[in-house]
Structures are given as structure tokens and as C-alpha cells.
């Protein structure tokens, strides 16, 4: 195998999705170098009543600050982790983020399982390979991964695993599971 410097640099994109406060940022921080990103987006009417534009009614864009994570596998091979915005009014950003994505991790909290339904629907419809990682919060009742699969009505091929996003080893395991799943999907599509 040729891993020489002549190789074209490759960047891969992984999405971290799930409801508000489920641990997306914690997961990214546990495993990668965090970098800030400013993006200016058009204010949709969904922002009305949420964004205070009094006195600046002519304002049509808003700055959305987001972080992303970067993992350098080797020179010329980098994995980027993008958390999908939790608020509904940022749905329009999802298409940009998921374009060309290798796959997605949907983080779930068993106390608020319905929060991850929109993410699952989105990736199923788009055909983006995804896994479900159940973040085991302190004090939350522990479930088996299989119980979660049934509750979410997931396809049998979709991996489901339990994790603790604060722990680096656990975060690593989540990402490895996703990339293995994406590889499986890729190989199957090439047959």
C-alpha cells in the first residue's frame, strides 16, 4: 500500500446529532481538538419571536457560532466532527453539514428518547449511514441496547451501543463503530 506524500489529502466528515443537551459537544471534546467556526445565516421566519431584532428590523442574517472537532489520523488524512445544531430553526444547516458526510452518530438519552427521532428520520431519508449511541447519564435507568433498538424501531442493520461520552475510550469506540458501519455500507454498495 502506498501511503506516500503523493497521496491526495483526504478529509472526512462525521456528524454528531441528537437532541439538545444530550452530550454532542462533550463527545466531540472527549476525542478531538475543538475549533470554533462562525457562520452567518439568513434569519428565517422561524426565528421570529426568538431572535430579538427590535431596533434592527432590517437585520436578515444572524451569526451562528458552532464548534467542530478535528482528528488528525496522519498527515493528509483528517477526520472532522460536526455537531448538528439542536434547535429546530437551524434545520436548513443540516443539508450543508450532511453533504458528503461519511456517517452520523445519533446520541440518545433514554429519559428523552423521542428527542432523537428527527435525527433518525433525517438520516434514514437521506441514506446517510448512522449508528445510535445511548449516552448513559448518571442517575438514568440503564437499558439494554436492544431495548433502545425496539423503542426506536430501528432497522436491524443499524448498530446501537451504550456509551459514556465523557470518557475518551468510550467516545473512541463510538467513532470506530460508526466508521466500521460506514465501511460495511460502502462495501455492500460496491458489490
Amino acid at each position: 500500500m502506498d501511503f506516500g506524500p503523493s497521496d491526495e489529502p483526504v478529509a472526512l466528515k462525521i456528524l454528531i446529532a441528537g437532541g439538545f443537551g444530550v452530550g454532542k459537544t462533550t463527545l466531540v471534546g472527549a476525542i478531538s481538538e475543538i475549533r470554533p467556526l462562525r457562520t452567518e445565516e439568513v434569519l428565517s421566519d422561524r426565528g421570529i419571536g426568538i431572535d430579538d431584532v427590535e431596533g434592527v428590523e432590517g437585520k436578515t442574517t444572524t451569526t451562528v457560532a458552532m464548534d467542530f472537532g478535528r482528528i488528525t489520523i496522519r498527515e493528509g488524512l483528517v477526520v472532522y466532527l460536526f455537531g448538528t445544531p439542536g434547535q429546530e430553526r437551524f434545520w436548513f444547516m443540516w443539508d450543508e453539514l450532511s453533504y458528503g458526510a461519511l456517517g452520523a452518530v445519533v446520541l440518545a438519552d433514554t429519559r428523552r428518547l423521542t428527542d432523537c427521532f428527527p435525527s433518525i428520520d433525517y438520516f434514514e431519508q437521506r441514506g446517510t449511514p448512522f449508528i445510535v449511541a445511548v449516552n448513559c447519564f448518571d442517575g438514568a435507568e440503564q437499558y439494554e441496547a436492544e431495548d433502545v433498538r425496539v423503542a426506536l424501531d430501528l432497522d436491524p442493520d443499524v448498530p446501537v451501543l451504550l456509551c459514556d461520552v465523557r470518557r475518551r475510550a468510550s467516545a473512541k469506540n463510538v467513532l470506530v463503530t460508526l466508521v466500521e458501519h460506514s465501511l460495511k455500507v460502502l462495501t455492500a454498495s460496491q458489490r
Binding site: P9, A11, L37, L77, L102
Partner: protein, 115 residues
């Protein structure tokens, strides 16, 4: 004058003033993780890169993603896309987007395990 300039004070020049108020360019469709590399070409046809574009050019002597360029320059993504679009139009940068092969994914899996 630098004593008056800090993050709290905000930018001296509003971001979209850097690009003459434009919000669209040929850089519109640039993916967040498209890789930008300086071609090393000499500027032609009277195009003079602005200070931000000079910063970009010195940053991308090795391939750098669009997201990293925006993060490094601390400018909104929309502004960076316009700046990159201009540079691309004048062949000062090349933009690549290699897709993941089976071999690359296996390498990523091993690399992640080794972290």
C-alpha cells in the same frame, strides 16, 4: 493603535465590507471539508489579493479545509467562501474533494483505535 484592538472591541472592519458587500461568488458551493491548496501561480489580469486573501494564500501552502481556513481567519464562513471564490477564479488556489475509499476507511478505523 493596537492597544484599542482586542476581541472585546470587535472587528474594525465589518466582515462583509472585506468583500465589498458581496454575499455570493463562485465559492458558494464550497463544501466545509473541501481541501484548499495554493497553486503558487503568479497573479494575473490585474487581480490583487486583499490582506485576508494573502493570509489565506500563506495558510494553504499545505492543503487546508475550508472549515479550518474560516476558523483560522476567524471570519464567517460566508465571507471566507467569497474570498476563496475570487482566489479560485484567478487560479491562485485549487480545490479538491477526495472521496473515501475502502482503504482510507480501514486506515481511519486503525488510526482511531490507536488514539
Amino acid at each position: 493603535m493596537t492597544q484599542w484592538m482586542d476581541e472585546e472591541a470587535g472587528p474594525i472592519v465589518r466582515p462583509y465590507a472585506l468583500i465589498g458587500g458581496r454575499t455570493r461568488s463562485s465559492g458558494d458551493e464550497l463544501d466545509l471539508i473541501a481541501m484548499v491548496t495554493a497553486t503558487g501561480a503568479v497573479t494575473s489580469s490585474g487581480f490583487v489579493p486583499g490582506p485576508e486573501q494573502e493570509r489565506i494564500l500563506s495558510l494553504v501552502t499545505t492543503a487546508t479545509s475550508v472549515a479550518d481556513v474560516a476558523s483560522e481567519l476567524d471570519l464567517p464562513l460566508g465571507v471566507v467562501r467569497v474570498l476563496l471564490g475570487d482566489l479560485q477564479d484567478h487560479q491562485l488556489i485549487s480545490i479538491g474533494r477526495a472521496s473515501a475509499s475502502e482503504r482510507i476507511l480501514k486506515e481511519v478505523i486503525n488510526g482511531l483505535r490507536a488514539l
